[in-house]
């Protein structure tokens, strides 16, 4: 008898749809928060108030303190000074666990799910209902109530599927469902959209809007200013660890106003370059490249000397796989011609030797050596040519080489001897460009070169691409940000589901055109 009662109670508790309503609408205030990491101030007297029923967006360049602010408010980092006040109550000694107890949940930048466990277990981790016997789990109660949460966030998955099988977008939605299952009504999203495609981001925004209607308290971080302006009710701008501006009416705010608040000075508006490169020789040519696993097929195109060729496509469209096959990180059938000569048996080392370089998309995993000095990060692809004295490496000469490259790409660092992880995302990417410029490329493939970098670094990176293409390097640029393809490219190819579906040149390159092409429609046929 008691077993049945217990189970029924557990099921009822789990299935209840009283998540946000269990709490009073939450007004969450962070007052003059200061936080430093090893001497460097991440936040200096920064205050933010998030009202119930609003989507409050924090923007700023990398390292401005946005993520730190949300992490302090979610109990992940303890603040050095300042107060956290939830509905008039001071929260002291907040930890992630007690934060959830107060109804505060942070959906982190990288979903922090336990990838080998099922979606179901991830959903209820920490509040798994006990079964009838000691140490047993009430799977039935979990399963019967999970559906409600999945439905609320619009997630259609098998609850028993391991989290590793979910896409990044689904993992994020699962994180949201977890927040709901834990009865949270203050939900923070730390840069959720950077790994998402436009369509997936729309799903997430739709969910955020629904939560707003239910009077949830929502904070959001993003680098994509268009979406910030579209979804936010209020915007707080951080710069150099301080709050520098508020925008209470995003609908009346322009992209430019926002950027100028972020960087602290006026910015020049970039113009498209008009160049005719139809006569230039082809330095890279792909003929019928295909992946053994079918990630892409029949890829044929060429890139001319000095040209900036865009590869537009959704995440998973096969653009990265194509680039990695050319560079030699993956096997592929078909032919690659480099400066007119067939290039078989491709490998990264021989590619670099012959002047073909590839800037990987995932900087954190495939680009930087986080614990290695900036110098050695810059020279990492240059090791076979490092200066030697006798039989041994010449460290001082190496530093000079790295310094010169760092100056070209405007790396800002306290010293080039600090570990790479001490640099902001933008400066890490500048250092990555320094690495690849050292290789003196003839063909440069840049995969999402501006992902996760601040506005200042973006401008610098565009400048580098302009400069090297003017000096005759063929640049192949892969990007999800169609705006930058429009700004930079002489020609753009669209890849959809592993095939090239369209090509536009010069003034035909418009946002509308590219937007239609990357989802497989509205393309002009290639000649």
């Amino acid at each position: 008898m008691s077993v049945i009662v217990k189970r029924a109670r557990a099921a009822a508790a789990l299935a209840s749809d009283r998540t946000a309503e269990e709490y009073a609408p939450a007004r969450y205030e962070a007052r003059t928060i200061t936080k430093s990491f090893g001497g460097a101030n991440a936040l200096t007297g920064a205050s933010v108030t998030i009202e119930p029923g609003e989507i409050h967006t924090l923007v700023g360049e990398n390292g401005a303190g946005k993520s730190t602010m949300l992490k302090v408010m979610a109990g992940i980092h303890p603040q050095d000074s300042g107060d956290l006040v939830l509905n008039g109550t001071h929260l002291r000694g907040l930890t992630p666990r007690t934060a959830i107890g107060h109804g505060i949940y942070l959906v982190p930048q990288e979903p922090s799910l336990m990838l080998t466990l099922s979606a179901l277990e991830n959903l209820f981790v920490g509040i798994i209902p006990r079964g009838s016997m000691a140490f047993s789990v009430d799977w039935k109660a979990m399963e019967s109530s999970a559906g409600a949460y999945f439905q609320q966030v619009g997630l259609h998955i098998d609850p028993w599927a391991p989290a590793s099988q979910l896409s990044i977008a689904e993992q994020q939605l699962l994180e949201c469902a977890r927040a709901l299952a834990h009865r949270c009504n203050v939900i923070f999203f730390d840069e959720p959209t950077s790994p998402l495609t436009a369509r997936e981001a729309d799903v997430l925004f739709e969910l955020m809007r629904r939560l707003r209607e239910r009077n949830f308290t929502i904070a959001f971080i993003s680098h994509r200013l268009e979406e910030v302006l579209a979804i936010s009710d209020r915007i707080t701008v951080l710069r150099d660890s301080r709050v520098v501006a508020h925008f209470d009416n995003p609908k009346q705010t322009s992209h430019r106003q926002l950027v100028e608040a972020m960087v602290g000075h006026e910015i020049a508006v970039r113009q498209r370059r008009q160049r005719d490169l139809s006569g230039a020789e082809a330095v890279l040519e792909l003929k019928d490249l295909g992946a053994p696993d079918g990630a892409f097929a029949d890829i044929s195109f060429m890139a001319r000397r000095g040209e900036v060729l865009g590869l537009a496509g959704l995440v998973g469209s096969g653009r990265t796989e194509t680039a990695e096959s050319v560079f030699g990180m993956r096997r592929a059938s078909g032919t690659v011609l480099l400066a007119g000569k067939p290039y078989a048996h491709r490998s990264p080392s021989s590619s670099i030797e012959s002047g073909l370089i590839y800037l990987p998309e995932d900087r954190g995993h495939n680009g930087v050596f986080a614990n290695v000095e900036v110098v050695r990060n810059i020279t990492a692809a240059f090791v076979p040519h490092l200066p030697k004295r006798g039989q041994l490496l010449h460290p001082r000469a190496e530093v000079e080489v790295a310094e010169k490259a760092a100056r070209r790409t405007r790396v800002v660092a306290p010293s080039l001897d600090v570990p790479m992880k001490a640099l902001s995302g933008g400066n890490q990417q500048r250092a990555m460009f320094a690495r690849w410029l050292l290789a003196e490329p003839k063909v440069a493939i840049f995969d999402e070169p501006t992902r996760g970098v601040d506005v200042g670094a973006k401008v610098d990176i565009y400048g580098i691409i302009d400069t090297i293409s003017d000096s005759g390097v063929a640049v192949v640029m892969i990007s999800s940000e169609l705006e930058e393809l429009v700004l930079l490219c002489d020609r753009v190819l669209a890849i959809y589901e592993g095939r090239i579906v369209g090509e536009v040149t010069g003034d035909e390159i418009t946002l509308e055109r590219l937007g239609a092409m990357v989802v497989g429609g509205g393309a002009s046929e290639r000649d």
């Binding site: 590793s164 490998s347 590839y358 995993h365 986080a370 090791v383 800002v412």
Partner: protein, 367 residues
């Protein structure tokens, strides 16, 4: 940050980083140890600097372990592990002894055995990288095979009877002078200098360290990841084989019973020396100092009438645990947690998981 600041950057003189501080601590520890034994035990310095009983003479009991530590260090730098080193040393000694008993000149037998062990190391490395197996398991299996082969080869009686000149040259002999320097110390010094220069001042060494820090990123930077890892296994086997020769010469017989102790002590020295067990971080001189800290600890404590078990097992274990705890705290302060490293190494998306296959794609292989 203003525009002006964005255009400038400074390369300041290098400050002491974590690795430097770790090495300084080790030196302090070594000096403290020697001072303690100096004042605590009248016999520790023997009859003074000039006699064969000076503290340098204790080297005979641990320098071969130090050589193995230097060898396995290469592998640990790449983020792999080599559990076969102790058995490799034992096997090398028995191989040399059997060749010698079979009539071969002992020096030719020595060189040949070291070369053959290098080949065994090469095979282990190729198996690990080509089939993408965990080095821990492959070298564990390799160690078992080498041990069985050694025991089977030597028969009931371990081979012995090397020329006196050989025992003296690689074993108990020393260079007389104001200070008597054991020959083994010379051999170790040569290996130590080679190891330091190879890791810190050659292109191969740079690639070794980069592979250890982030295998994926190294592959994308054009480092031949598999080739680098295989070379580390070859070096490990070679250094172990040299140590095996010193053991045989020192005891006058090839021994197969020392292997497990050699392995564990060697790995302890590497870790105590500050090399990151997950690969990448650390300095060779740190390992060299750590081998002396460890080496003098047991004989010193034994002289101090400390119980045998304490001196040889518990004290080194405690030292290692204390060192690791301190290192863990330092790392955490720097924002690198043990958990994060474990996840990076073994978790999803790590260099060892299936996602990382691209890192060893065609051409990045050893072939």
């Amino acid at each position: 940050m203003s525009v002006v600041a964005e255009t400038q950057h400074v390369v300041r003189r290098r400050r002491f980083d974590t690795d430097d501080r770790w090495m300084i601590s080790l030196v302090v520890l070594l000096v403290a140890e020697l001072l303690y034994f100096n004042f605590g035990i009248s016999t520790f310095w023997g009859g003074g600097w000039g006699t064969s009983y000076s503290f340098l003479g204790y080297g005979e009991s641990f320098l071969f372990t130090s050589m193995i530590a230097l060898g396995v260090m290469f592998v640990i730098f790449t983020g792999d592990i080599d559990l076969s080193v102790g058995y490799m040393a034992a096997f090398a000694g028995i191989m040399m002894a059997e060749f010698h008993i079979g009539g071969m000149n002992i020096w030719i037998a020595t060189v040949l055995s070291i070369a053959l062990c290098a080949v065994i190391g090469l095979i282990q490395g190729l198996v690990i990288t080509y089939f993408k197996l965990e080095s821990l398991l492959v070298t564990l299996a390799g160690g078992f095979i080498l041990n069985s082969a050694a025991v089977a080869w030597e028969g009931p009686v371990p081979p012995y009877g090397f020329p006196h000149s050989y025992d003296s040259a690689l074993g108990s002999g020393d260079i007389s002078g104001t200070i008597q320097i054991p020959n083994q110390l010379i051999v170790f010094a040569v290996l130590a200098v080679i190891a330091t220069l190879v890791v810190h001042r050659t292109r191969f060494g740079r690639q070794l360290v980069l592979v250890g820090h982030n295998r994926q990123a190294a592959a994308y930077a054009g480092v031949r990841v598999s080739a680098t890892r295989v070379k580390a296994f070859v070096l490990s086997a070679t250094f172990s084989a040299v140590a095996g020769m010193c053991i045989a010469a020192n005891y006058g017989t090839a021994r197969d019973d020392l292997a497990p102790t050699l392995l564990l002590t060697a790995i302890t020295c590497v870790v105590l020396g500050g090399v990151d067990i997950f690969g990448g971080g650390g300095r060779v001189p740190g390992v060299i100092i750590a081998t002396f800290v460890m080496g003098w600890l047991a004989p010193g404590l034994l002289q101090d009438n400390v119980n045998d078990t304490w001196a040889t097992l518990i004290a080194p274990g405690t030292l290692l645990l204390a060192a690791l705890t301190i290192k863990g705290i330092v790392d955490r302060r720097q924002g690198v947690s043990f958990r994060a490293k474990t996840l990076a190494r073994f978790g999803p998306g790590s260099p060892t998981s299936a996602h990382a296959d691209a890192g060893d794609a065609p051409g990045t292989g050893a072939t």
